[in-house]
């Protein structure tokens, strides 16, 4: 359904372009939830903005690679061109709903605004459809809440409104960029179960971006781990959590706090992730990796297949069980 092929997003203001993401490829199938995990600055949000066609273009742009929606290329289409071409099947929700919603506009009108953009203004009874969308995301008293302003709603309710707006175009693909990071755990659990439910009911595909491995384990079908602009490991969620093979993925697991294993000290990954200006030839993780050999320091690291659907960009994938 959504296919991303060798996507390279770069800062193009300097003499030489600086790559933020390098050769990111993945497929997203109908009704599937793909989790993209990685730390700050690894390029996960930039990948999402590139897919949405929301990059600033004059400073940061797609330098190579393609984004296909239902086999049609949308890589360089502006958002309004996508609507004209009927290729507006991708929606996105963001981390902090309060900064995405208009604070001086009733939420009903904000939903109708999205409906009108996609229905070219010739729609009947927009308010009724807006109410239906609020029902879909389980906002109680939907008819009354249409008149509410964002500040009158709690964080969890605002994120539900954002999801309702994202659903206005009947998307095939929903990109969720850290949608629960600003929420308390109890509310997070509710939003996650809502996303799961919508994904099943509307057979919508979800690209779920997060830094939280726990959230990925709860929600995703497949997981891609990103490091310094590249996907370094992809597998089904069960396989990745039982048997991570990339040293970075493995390192992420060993530094997760686990209250059931208090006696074992945390094992942090030494050093820190490189800045995009510091990435050199070879494996970007090599400076922090205890398994590196001379082969890791030059050339590009290709995919190594581990098992069906499980692959990694590493010369020395780990063998033992976690």
């Amino acid at each position: 359904m959504l296919s991303v092929q060798d996507l390279t997003v770069s800062v193009i203001t300097g003499k030489t372009p600086l790559d933020i993401t390098r050769n990111v490829s993945f497929e997203l199938n109908k009704g599937e939830i793909l989790g993209v995990v990685g730390e700050s600055g690894c390029g996960k949000s930039m990948t999402a903005l590139a897919i949405m066609g929301l990059l600033p273009k004059t400073t940061i742009a797609v330098r190579s690679g393609r984004v296909l929606l239902d086999d049609q290329e949308i890589t360089h289409l502006e958002p309004h061109q996508r609507v004209d071409a009927g290729l507006s099947g991708i929606s996105m929700i963001f981390q902090e709903p309060m900064t995405s919603l208009n604070p001086v506009m009733q939420i009903g009108d904000q939903i109708i605004e999205a409906l009108l953009v996609h229905d070219r203004g010739n729609m009947r009874a927009p308010a009724a459809r807006a109410k239906k969308l609020l029902d879909l995301v389980h906002i109680p008293d939907a008819a009354m809440q249409l008149k509410a302003y964002p500040h009158e709603l709690s964080g969890g309710m605002r994120q539900r409104v954002m999801i309702a707006i994202a659903l206005a175009c009947n998307p095939q693909v929903l990109i969720a960029d850290e949608p629960t990071t600003a929420l308390d755990v109890t509310i997070q659990a509710e939003i996650l179960s809502l996303l799961k439910e919508l994904c099943e009911e509307l057979s919508m595909a979800v690209l779920f971006i997060t830094h939280n491995l726990g959230v990925v384990a709860q929600l995703a079908d497949r997981v891609s781990v990103m490091y310094a602009g590249q996907i370094v490991e992809t597998a089904s969620v069960e396989v990745l959590f039982e048997h991570p093979v990339h040293p970075y993925t493995h390192g992420l697991f060993s530094c997760l706090p686990d209250p059931t294993k208090r006696s074992e000290p945390l094992q942090p990954i030494p050093g820190q992730a490189p800045l995009i200006t510091e990435i050199t030839d070879g494996c970007a993780f090599a400076p922090r990796c205890k398994f590196k050999t001379s082969a890791c320091l030059s050339g590009s690291i290709d995919w190594t297949g581990i098992s069906n659907g499980h692959k990694t960009r590493c010369h020395h994938p780990l063998k033992e069980q976690k």
């Binding site: 308390d184 997070q188 659990a189 384990a217 997760l256 209250p259």
Partner: protein, 320 residues
């Protein structure tokens, strides 16, 4: 109070007077909170946004002025101290803040930020002594002394938080109040800072009040945990017991809602807790009654007092 107790807090109350829509409200941010802290102990405070955990930390050293209660430290009630004597206490009870970007002055060199408390209290004998102490403190938090001449923007998030901790360690305090010290950091860096705090506790016999919304982090590093809900401590006890056998229905729900990094342990449906009630107009009775599946009769009329339920574990619930 045992001889090992370094800080004892009894009946701490902090109220904010706020005005909303032309109506005045008395928001009880901290309501009758009592606990003690032993030497070399890490006590965690967890809870959702707005539960008062940060206000507890700030009230202890009067960064926010409490309305009532007794905070005993070194034989004095901190809340009665003012001026120079209060500043001296603040030299022994230090804060580490959440966001190392916001809590370091971007125009001051690291050395000046780290030495600020020493400069104010005239703790350095000579400029050489000052440099020596700065270098020692930086080494203590795992930073090279050459960082002293740098500015905050030259440092990564993890390094900045190390500076935040270094600043609290010069001179060596008895207690550190760490308010969400790892929330702004990535997991791999977070683990480095947590290990540093554990290591400092061991080497310097520091007592730490560790405030966080992240149950896994608190469960990993704290000896005891206090769970807060709308200004009250609803449960307090040994970390391991509290995590494995939570007593209060809120603690149970909170631990259940933490997404476990294991796809085989997925949270089922039907655990919906709903939204917390308004903090401005609290109903009588237990503050958790609105969301509690066990609430009935007495829960809606009387506020439950915190009581010992088993061994060292205390909870505030009528149903226990």
């Amino acid at each position: 109070m045992s001889s090992e107790t370094i800080l004892d807090v009894a009946g701490l109350r902090t109220t904010f007077h706020v005005k909303r829509a032309n109506k005045k409200y008395a928001l009880k941010a901290v309501d009758n909170v009592s606990f003690h802290l032993d030497k070399g102990e890490i006590l965690g405070f967890v809870g959702e946004t707005g539960c008062g955990k940060t206000t507890v930390g700030r009230s202890i050293i009067k960064l926010t002025k409490p309305e009532g209660g007794v905070v005993t430290f070194g034989g004095n009630n901190i809340l009665n101290l003012t001026g120079r004597r209060l500043r001296e206490v603040r030299l022994k009870v230090r804060m580490v803040f959440q966001d190392p970007y916001a809590s370091l002055n971007p125009r001051r060199r690291i050395a000046d930020s780290v030495a600020e408390a020493g400069d104010i209290h005239k703790l350095f004998n000579s400029p050489q002594d000052r440099l020596k102490q700065i270098a020692e403190t930086l080494k203590r938090v795992g930073l090279d002394p050459s960082f002293a001449d740098r500015f905050p923007h030259e440092l990564s998030g993890g390094q900045r938080q190390r500076v935040g901790i270094a600043r609290a360690l010069l001179p060596i305090p008895g207690i550190i109040i760490a308010d969400e010290p790892v929330s702004a950091l990535d997991v791999s860096i977070q683990a480095q800072i947590l290990n540093l705090l554990l290591d400092l506790r061991k080497r310097l016999n520091l007592a730490i009040i560790f405030i966080s919304h992240d149950l896994s982090v608190v469960g990993q590093i704290c000896d005891r945990i206090a769970v807060m809900y709308l200004g009250r401590v609803v449960e307090i006890g040994e970390a391991e017991e509290l995590f494995n056998r939570p007593l209060h229905p809120y603690t149970q729900a909170l631990i259940h809602a933490v997404p476990k990094p294991n796809p085989r342990l997925r949270i089922g449906k039907g655990m919906a807790l709903g939204e917390p009630p308004s903090r401005f107009e609290l109903k009588p009775g237990c503050t958790y009654a609105d969301r509690c599946p066990l609430a009935e009769g007495v829960c809606l009329t009387d506020v439950p007092e915190i009581k010992t339920v088993k061994n060292a574990q205390m909870a505030a619930c009528h149903k226990l």
